[in-house]
Amino acid sequence: MSTANTLRADLQLIADWVAPASRVLDLGCGDGALLSWLNRHKAVRGYGVDFDVNNVVRCVQAGVNAIQGNLETGLAEFEDQRFDHVVLSQTIQAMHNTEQILVEMLRVGREAIVTFPNFGYWENRWQILQGHMPVSETIPYQWYNTPNIHWCMLGDFEALCAKNGIQVLERVVMNEGKRILFLPNLRGSLAFYRVARQPA
């Protein structure tokens, strides 16, 4: 429940990166759990964006301001540099316009926080070696019904950032709620990035 005081481990890590009293835009906000928590614990102001009207309703129930919108068509509702943090949590791998959203996030926000399941995680590699597309806790779909269409590993994401003049400020890799420091691309199932535009 989104009004609970504890956040899911991955959302808590994002929340730790958000400065108190800042303005946050949470893309693909779901039931609004992150913003609801940030609201109450860090006096953060902001909006969630979600494609699904049922999620907008759930956000309203959680006291979160949500704007129904399609991330694939960009963030036209938002002016340049309106937000301190723009969050995209476990959604980028399901998007068609992957590169555009990354650029748009840093148009409307000072910093972006992007998280995604790491395709380079050893269990994924192992399943591929066995002749199957990976299915796991972070990738809970079969190949034929998955919304995920753009898989990447840590290096791939960092290359996309570099191509667009985006600087990685911080990177955390986790597995089962624990931080992975040694061999992160092999041992981490979930990647967290805090990025910003490279200074001109």
């Binding site: 909006y47 009207v53 049922n54 907008v56 309703v57 956000c59 309203v60 129930q61 006291g63 301001n65 949500a66 704007i67 129904q68 919108g69 036209a76 509702e77 938002f78 002016e79 309106r82």
Partner: protein
């Protein structure tokens, strides 16, 4: 959803008479006037649970309930307003009002002008959305309501809601703007003018003073309504309901009613011309055309909305092409840029502009969730 069948029951309209002159945007002054209104539910001791419902083009104060047990039709938004419904009359004190210029009890062109003893007719001044809002604020004073828990309106009603939030920021806690626009597009004004031309060129119009001629420009009003009706529905919705169905099974090769859609439109047009006043239709469409809260601010809607302190809910419907989702998103964009709190829902519906009067499940859920939030805030 069994609670949606519950009703506020038998209701009665009331009239508030104002003898303080009202200065209108056109420069004209209404020396005195009356507003017809209805209320449902109970105003709490703190007077904090009042909701104003602003009506659309052909609307009035009769929002919910019936006048007699035999009454066939309930108020125009009866499916949204009532005990246990999204606009819950067990929690809120709901006010419906007929606007100035109307033909359902508020002072309008068919009322008697005390100066002449004759109906106002063509001499009734043009009224605008800000004029309405000012007159409604006086009604709020009369009812002892300093601050509305929410103001809610669809279409032209949504424009009044926006105007309220700009003109009386301290008096509006929440503004729900549904299927509306920050101003009309050229296409919308064009539709309105075709409707007006139908009325103005009706031989029974007599320059607006048809009352004295014992005539009604019925044909013009009927055409205006038929045109309006087409634009309020979507092609899909109309196709679903009527398709190319024929009344008699085969082509008659003449100009009588053949297709079901023709029959439906003529019936709606006739019904409307029986109960609506042509001059009122002209006035209301003009108010729509003139609405533009950013006009005096170099077209800067953000600057206009910056004055508001309400929190907003904006909703639109995918098949509404007369007030399309793009128009609602203009409002949302300006509200975000003005740093306002806003919730926006874009509801999947085949019902076109009329969808705001229907019960598409996501729409009802959104209204219910938002108004629950409002009710909790005011301890209703």
């Amino acid at each position: 959803m069994s609670d949606l069948t519950r009703s506020v029951g038998i209701v009665q309209a009331q009239t508030a008479v104002f003898d303080t002159p009202l200065q209108l945007a056109s420069g004209a002054v209404l020396p005195d006037y009356q507003l017809c209104f209805e209320t449902y539910g109970t105003l709490n001791a703190a007077r904090s649970n009042a909701i104003l419902i602003c009506h659309a083009l052909s609307g009035h104060h009769h929002v919910a309930g019936r006048y007699t047990p035999e009454d066939k039709a309930a108020g125009w938004w009866d499916n949204m307003v009532g005990p246990g419904k999204p606009i819950d009359t067990d929690r809120f004190f709901v006010v419906g009002v007929n606007n100035l210029g109307g033909c359902h009890g508020s002072t309008g062109p068919s009322s008697i002008n005390p100066a002449t003893g004759q109906p106002w007719g063509s001499s009734f001044p043009v009224v605008t959305v800000p004029d309405w809002v000012r007159s409604q604020a006086r009604l709020a004073d009369r009812l002892g309501i300093d601050r509305w828990a929410a103001i809610i309106g669809g279409s032209l009603g949504g424009m009044q809601t926006l105007q309220w939030s700009i003109d009386y920021p301290e008096r509006v806690a929440h503004a729900l703007v549904i299927a509306s626009a920050p101003k009309l597009s050229a296409q919308n004004i064009a539709f309105n003018d075709v409707a007006r031309q139908a009325i103005l060129t009706d031989p029974d119009f007599h320059g607006g003073d048809y009352y004295a001629h014992d005539a009604i420009p019925r044909r013009g009003l009927r055409l205006a309504r038929m045109l309006g009706h087409i634009t309020y529905l979507s092609d899909d919705g109309m196709g679903e309901k009527f398709g190319r169905m024929l009344k008699s099974g085969d082509y008659q090769f003449g100009y009588e009613v053949e297709f079901e859609i023709e029959s439906y439109l003529r019936y709606q047009g006739d019904k409307f011309s029986d109960y609506f006043d042509a001059n009122t239709y002209l006035l209301m469409t003009k108010a729509l055309d003139y609405f533009d809260p950013a006009k005096d601010l170099n077209d800067d809607l953000v600057a206009a909305l910056r004055k508001a302190s309400a929190r907003f809910m904006v909703a639109s419907f995918t098949s509404d092409w007369r007030f399309s989702p793009e128009r609602s998103r203009e409002i949302v964009k300006a509200l975000v840029a003005a740093d306002k709190e806003v919730v926006y829902g874009e509801i999947e519906s085949v019902h076109g502009h009329d969808a705001f009067l229907m019960l598409d499940a996501p729409y009802v859920n959104l209204m219910r969730a938002y108004l629950n939030r409002v009710a909790e805030e005011v301890n209703a």
